[in-house]
């Protein structure tokens, strides 16, 4: 059976100054409808590239993305993207930011009044209806990201793509937004592909965690199933054995099997006595 969303043999190389850099190689993934997938890996491993290829903002060099039996080759509201730094238009109010997408997507399907109600409904989903008339610079970072999510949800995407959506937020705000996102996912049944750096976040939110190996020519290293029952409660999970196990698995992958490449060098340096360079050691010997 064909999957809802399929990444088939994706490879990506960038051409900079005549040098070809192979960023991705042989990325294969099948995602079911309604699944929540996290992409995790060290920075520079090509997670964002994968996401951009799914969104259609980039074109894969080899292979391709198939969504509901159709090849993806350009961006579309079907695959809405939540950007890391919210990317709200600063000159439009919260309401107008959401309206921009809605007007485009539902141009012929909804009346003006229906659209207005739909926009407000989506703002309500992210608990932002009270700030509908505010400009983005008048609301906090977490609120901006909520609006960014509402803007995407309002377009009723087949797949919601999130590029480190909570990376720039403080821990408390992030927890709030994670809870909101779980609630939205539960109620709407949207398929989500999310990039994250945060192991706890990945385990808490995902059905499957896709762990990527390091570049160049990065690929999918392992996929971890997180079969924790939903709805999930972060307090109860903190002590849960399955949660701790899953968390341990991801940490093992990231810090033991696929160490951040620069970390190796760092460790070698540290093997000398702490805080002492070769020079200071020599000097001390001379003094003796």
């Amino acid at each position: 059976m064909q999957a809802y969303l399929e990444l088939s043999n994706i490879g990506m190389s960038f051409n900079t100054d005549g040098k070809v850099f192979q960023a991705l190689c042989n990325v294969n993934l099948k995602v079911d409808k309604g699944e929540f997938i996290s992409l995790i890996g060290h920075s520079g491993c090509g997670k964002s590239t994968v996401l951009n290829i799914i969104s259609g903002l980039y074109q894969a060099t080899t292979g391709g993305v198939i969504l509901q039996g159709k090849e993806v080759n350009s961006p579309s509201p079907d695959r809405a993207v939540v950007f890391q730094n919210h990317a709200l238009l600063p000159w439009l109010s919260v309401y107008e930011n959401v309206a921009l997408g809605v007007k485009q997507v539902f141009r012929k399907r909804k009346t003006r009044a229906e659209m207005a109600a739909w926009i407000l409904h989506n703002l309500e989903l992210v608990h932002m209806q009270h700030a509908a008339d505010k400009l983005p610079h008048e609301i906090s970072g977490g609120m901006k990201q909520r609006v960014g999510i509402a803007r995407c949800l309002a377009m009723q995407p087949k797949v919601l793509l999130m590029d480190e959506p909570f990376g720039a937020l403080d821990a408390l705000t992030r927890a709030h937004l994670q809870d909101s996102l779980m609630e939205i996912h539960r109620n709407s049944g949207t398929t989500v592909v999310m990039i994250t750096h945060d192991v706890d976040e990945a385990v808490l939110l995902s059905d499957r965690i896709v762990m990527m190996s390091n570049g160049p020519a990065a690929s999918i290293g392992e996929i971890l199933n997180v079969s924790l029952p939903r709805p999930r409660d972060r307090l109860a999970l903190a002590e849960d054995r399955d949660f701790i196990h899953a968390r341990h698995e991801v940490l093992q992958f990231l810090y033991s099997r696929h160490k951040f490449p620069a970390a190796d060098n760092h460790e070698k340096k540290l093997s000398a006595p702490l805080g002492m360079t070769a020079q200071t050691i020599n000097n001390r010997n001379k003094a003796a």
């Binding site: 350009s74 961006p75 809405a80 990317a87 610079h137 377009m155």
Partner: protein, 322 residues
């Protein structure tokens, strides 16, 4: 009560700062005027002594008096005409009456107004081309590569180089039975337009090319059609740069205008200076100096006006505009 005190304190501080600024401006002005008067007294030209602040002040009064006199003459002329016509009609209601417009010579104030109209028309003409061209070049790398060399080539050209060409072209092409505008006006406006095109084109291109990449991606994901993309994302993003360009353009245009009017004989401030220079009376230098000061003042006011317009149109009221 405490709040009030705080307000009062900041109010007092504000007043003190204002006073300080005003004092400094006053000292600067007075020093300048003093040095000007002293050095003016030492310069003798064939048209008499170089005008100092005192002579310039006299000429300001003179020009004002001339203007008032001219207005009086004009009203008197129209009054005489209407009385005469009323008499004629009283004797014979079917008589054909003639209404002539007053043809006095333009006063200094008329010339200022002519200059302002000319620079406005030239500037608007330039903006009508510059902003769409800048947006198009900013959006399309291909178009930019094609157009950029032409922009770079014509940008440094002096208005005086354009003027003879524009004059000849206008004389050849602008042939109307009852022209609404004089040829000298059209020539000056077009020369202004040609010279103040470039800063806006260049700044608009920079503004359009530096739109935040994420916002462009948002637009691609939403699949905004080209025109809405320009309207909703490109224009608001590029607005500050477009305004910077427009301010530079208007300043250039105002400078160019004076030279263009001298040569094209458009009855504005440029022609005023040229006529005074040719006139060569003992008052001429003083009158020219008045024109110089007025040109500076109007240039300043035009720039302030653009700044005000920018503040009005800018979405971000928190940015400091200078």
């Amino acid at each position: 009560m405490k709040l009030f005190e705080l307000n009062w304190q900041t109010g007092a501080m504000f007043k003190r700062r204002m006073l300080r600024t005003l004092t400094l401006v006053g000292i600067g002005m007075l020093t300048f005027a003093g040095l000007w008067q002293i050095s003016a007294n030492r310069i003798d030209t064939s048209l008499g002594q170089f005008p100092g602040p005192v002579q310039v002040w006299e000429q300001i009064q003179n020009l004002r008096a001339e203007h008032i006199r001219e207005i009086e003459r004009e009203t008197a002329f129209y009054q005489r005409q209407s009385e005469r016509n009323a008499d004629i009609l009283a004797q014979d209601p079917t008589a054909e009456i003639r209404i002539r417009s007053y043809t006095g010579r333009p006063t200094f104030v008329d010339q200022i107004i002519t200059s302002l109209i000319t620079v406005t028309v030239g500037f608007l003409l330039a903006m009508l081309v510059a902003i769409p061209l800048g947006i198009a070049c900013g959006l399309s790398e291909t178009l930019y590569s094609a157009v950029n060399p032409i922009i770079q080539l014509f940008k440094p050209v002096s208005p005086l180089a354009w003027l003879p060409l524009v004059t000849m072209v206008v004389s050849a092409m602008y042939v109307v039975d009852q022209p609404l505008f004089s040829k000298s006006f059209v020539t000056s406006a077009i020369t202004v337009a040609l010279c103040c095109l470039w800063p806006t084109v260049i700044n608009t291109i920079v503004g359009v090319t530096s739109v935040d990449k994420d916002l462009i991606n948002v637009s691609r994901v939403i699949q905004l059609p080209a025109l809405r993309h320009i309207q909703k994302i490109v224009l608001p993003s590029a607005m500050p740069m477009i305004f910077t360009g427009m301010r530079l353009s208007l300043a250039t245009g105002w400078m160019v205008l004076i030279a263009a009017e001298m040569l094209a004989q458009n009855p504005g401030l440029g022609k005023f200076i040229w006529d005074e220079f040719q006139n060569g009376s003992s008052d001429s230098l003083g009158r020219i100096m008045v024109a110089v000061l007025v040109i500076g003042l109007i240039g300043l006011l035009l720039d302030r006006f653009m700044l005000l317009l920018q503040r009005r149109m800018s979405w971000d009221k928190t940015t400091v505009l200078r």
